[in-house]
Chain length 200, copies 2
DNA sequence: GTCTATACAACGATAGAC
DNA sequence: GTCTATCGTTGTATAGAC
C-alpha cells in the first residue's frame, strides 16, 4: 500500500485546477476566507496543498478565482431587463429572497464575510450591482441613475446583513410578502420614484 | 525614569489589563479580528503575549472585552429620546454620518469586518439597535415596533456597508443632505410611517 | 497573583527534487 | 507538473520565577 489517496502522480493540470476550484468554493462558503485553510481545501480536492500555490499563486489567488455571487447573475439580469419599470423591485426582491432562503443565507453570509475583508469580493459585488441595475436605469432615463443604483444596493445588502448575518428577529423570519410590502416599496422608490432631491 | 520599556516586572494586573484593552481596540479596529495578531497587540501594549491568555482567556475573550460600538451609545440614545417622533430618523442619521465620516468609516468598517465573523460583535450590534430604538418605538405606540426596528437597522447598516466598506460611488461621497433626503425618508417611514402591511 | 520564558501544533508559503 | 521538506509565524499551553 503505497498511498491510500492516490497512487503515483496526477495526470493533468486541468483536473487538479478544477478539483481545487470546486473544493475551494465549498470550503470558502462554509468557513469564510480566514476560516478556510489551504490544507482543508486541498485534502477535499484530493490534491497536494502545494498545488494551490502552483496554480493560483496562493490562497488569495484561489479565493479570487473561486468567489462567485450568491445568485445567478444572468437570472437577475433577465429579471431586471424583462420587468416593467414599476415591478422591477418586487420581482428582484422575490428572486433574491427565494435564492438566499434556500441556502439558509449561506451564500450571502459567505460573500459578506469575505467582502468585509477581501477586496476581490467587494469588487465583485460592486460591479455586479453597478452594471446590472445601472444599465437598465439608464435605459429608463431616470435622474441620478448611479445614485439610485447605490441606494438600491444599500437597502438590499442591508436586508441580507440583518436577515442572514446578524439574524435579527423578526426580520430574520419575516415572510416574503412582508418584506415586499416594506422593503420592496423602498427599493422601488430608489429605482424609479421621487428621491426628494428637489432638482429636476 | 524607572522604566522606558520595562525593567523588572510589572506593578499590578490592572495596568496590564488596561494596556491590553487599549492596544486591542486600536489593532482590532485597524486590522479586524483575523488580521490582528496576539503578538502585535501585546507588543503595542508593551506586555508579554501570554498575558492575553492569562487575563482574557485567549484572543476571542480579548476581542469580546475590547469590542465597542462605532458610535457613542449614550449620544444616540439621547438623540432618539429627545427628538419629536417625526424627526428621529433625520437626527439619528446625521449623527451617525458625522461620526462615521470623521473616522473615515474606520469604526464602522471594523465592526462590520468583525460582525460578519464574530458572534460577539454581531450580538453587540443587535442589542444596541433593539434596545435603543425599540424602547422609543414602544413609547410611541406604533404598530409592529420590533419589525420597524429591524427594518431601520437594515437600511442604516446597508448604508454603512456601501459607503464605508464597499465604498461604492456616488453614495460613498454623497453629502449629508442628499443622504437625508433619500435614505432619511426611508428610515422615517420604517419608524413611524405606513409600512403597507394592511392590518391595523 | 503576576509575570517571563519557552514549547507546541497548525498555518501559508517557498525551494528544489523527481 | 507534481510532490517533499522546510521555513517563519500564528494561537495557545505550560513551567516556573518573583
Amino acid at each position: 500500500m503505497t498511498h491510500p489517496k492516490r497512487r503515483g502522480r496526477r495526470p493533468a493540470g486541468e483536473d487538479t485546477k478544477a478539483a481545487l476550484l470546486s473544493a475551494a468554493r465549498a470550503v470558502f462558503t462554509e468557513q469564510g476566507f480566514d476560516g478556510a485553510t489551504v490544507r482543508t481545501i486541498a485534502s477535499r480536492a484530493e490534491v497536494d496543498p502545494a498545488m494551490v500555490n502552483h496554480w493560483f499563486g496562493g490562497k488569495q489567488g484561489l479565493f479570487a478565482a473561486a468567489i462567485q455571487l450568491p445568485v445567478d447573475p444572468e437570472q437577475i439580469r433577465m429579471t431586471v431587463h424583462n420587468s416593467p419599470p414599476e415591478e422591477i423591485a418586487e420581482r428582484v426582491l422575490r428572486t433574491f429572497i427565494s435564492v438566499w432562503d434556500d441556502s439558509s443565507g449561506g451564500g450571502f453570509a459567505a460573500l459578506m464575510r469575505s467582502a468585509a475583508t477581501q477586496e476581490s469580493a467587494a469588487k465583485l459585488l460592486r460591479e455586479f450591482i453597478a452594471t446590472t441595475f445601472g444599465t437598465r436605469l439608464r435605459e429608463l432615463g431616470v435622474d441620478h441613475p448611479d445614485l439610485r443604483v447605490t441606494l438600491f444596493g444599500s437597502q438590499l445588502s442591508g436586508l441580507g446583513l440583518v436577515r442572514y448575518v446578524l439574524r435579527q428577529e423578526p426580520l430574520a423570519s419575516a415572510d416574503v410578502d412582508t418584506l415586499v410590502a416594506t422593503i420592496g416599496r423602498t427599493l422601488q422608490r430608489y429605482l424609479t420614484g421621487d428621491l426628494g432631491l428637489g432638482g429636476e
